[in-house]
Amino acid sequence: MQRPMNRALAAAAALAFALASTAQAQVGLTSNTATVTLNATKSSTLTVSPSTATATLASITDNSNANNFSNVSLTTDWNLTAGTSVRLIGWFATPAQALVNGTALIPSANVEGGINGGGFSPFTGAAVGGVGVAGGSLQLFSQAVAVANYFSTRTDVLNLRLNLVGFPTTSAGLYTGTLNVQAVVQ
């Protein structure tokens, strides 16, 4: 009578152990690992930000180059992976009509620009790297770039003036025009 009882107890213990093992296996049950691939592309950037959208010249003096517009601060930012230079180009879309006052025109040849007080040159150059207009452009600076400064910035003061020396006397009135400023990587 005692032996069957012992066997029953042993079997019950084995069953309990088996169930306990199953319970333990289910705690912290984990699934497969699903994955999501994340791709994000950061593009190269090149921007020019003028401090002001308008440069003014209060009073034009004929036959003089003392016709300075108010200065414009230009900040050029770039974040690149390639290239050897960043160049800033100023250009007029229609060189023959840089500034217009009705039918009176001032061509880009009589508009001069420079940066940081380094002297003036007329907007009569060619386009650079596809930026600008033939005969109506001026390279304002060329900044060498390499790995060390592929991400950088610079701020310059753009000086503008009308050089009317030898130019026909202008008509009275307001002359308006648009100078485009654009950077390009070469």
Partner: protein
């Protein structure tokens, strides 16, 4: 004389022995009637393996065409996730879905710099992070990495839903606000999704 006596004795025995044997056998038969053997217990154990799976229905590849510095960048489409389970409610309180990066400091790796997990945010409006939340939590139940995990939902388990599934949308975002300007290039990483019972 002796031989005659011997034959008589053998003749008597030939009658007595079978009778004695019959009497003995009848007594044994009477003892076995109505008597059971000792009980023997056979333990039966059959295991139904619990099931837990995570399947991505769509959005397994997430792409931002153009990252913008110093702002939030949303991945355009959600990751549609179906989590299925068949568990023992007596042994499972919750089914939890975890998202995690293996290396939190390098959630997305770029050409020269990395985007850490703290800059990758996730939102599951049907789960726990209903607003965009950085993937910076710790592991749960051994799933995930310290500082690079996010618990997306905790589904309570009872007898009613011991075998069930749910489908959720996971939205992802890269927040570069205040982050140093990234170098141009492709930034890639892998977000792991794994469920665990508690």
């Amino acid at each position: 004389m002796h031989s005659r006596t011997g034959r008589r004795v053998r003749r008597c025995l030939s009658f007595l022995v079978p009778g004695a044997a019959l009497a003995f056998g009848a007594r044994e038969a009477a003892a076995q009637a109505g008597t059971g053997s000792p009980a023997r217990i056979i333990a039966l154990a059959a295991t139904k393996t619990s099931q837990l799976s995570v399947i991505i229905g769509s959005g397994a590849v997430q792409t931002i065409a153009s990252l913008t510095d110093n702002t939030t960048n949303n991945f355009p489409t959600p990751v549609v996730i179906t989590t299925s389970w068949d568990v023992n409610p007596g042994q499972t309180n919750t089914v939890n879905l975890m998202a995690y990066f293996t290396t939190p400091a390098q959630a997305l790796v770029g050409p020269t710099t990395q985007i850490p997990a703290s800059r990758v945010l996730a939102r599951m409006t049907t789960g726990l992070p209903v607003a965009f939340t950085a993937i910076t939590q710790n592991a749960l139940g051994g799933i995930g990495t310290a500082g690079g995990s996010l618990r997306l939902f905790a589904q309570n388990i009872s007898g009613v839903n011991k075998k069930s599934s749910r489908t959720d949308n996971l939205n992802l975002q890269i927040n570069l606000t205040g982050f140093p300007t990234l170098a141009p290039g492709l930034y890639s990483g892998t977000l792991n999704l794994q469920a665990v019972t508690q």
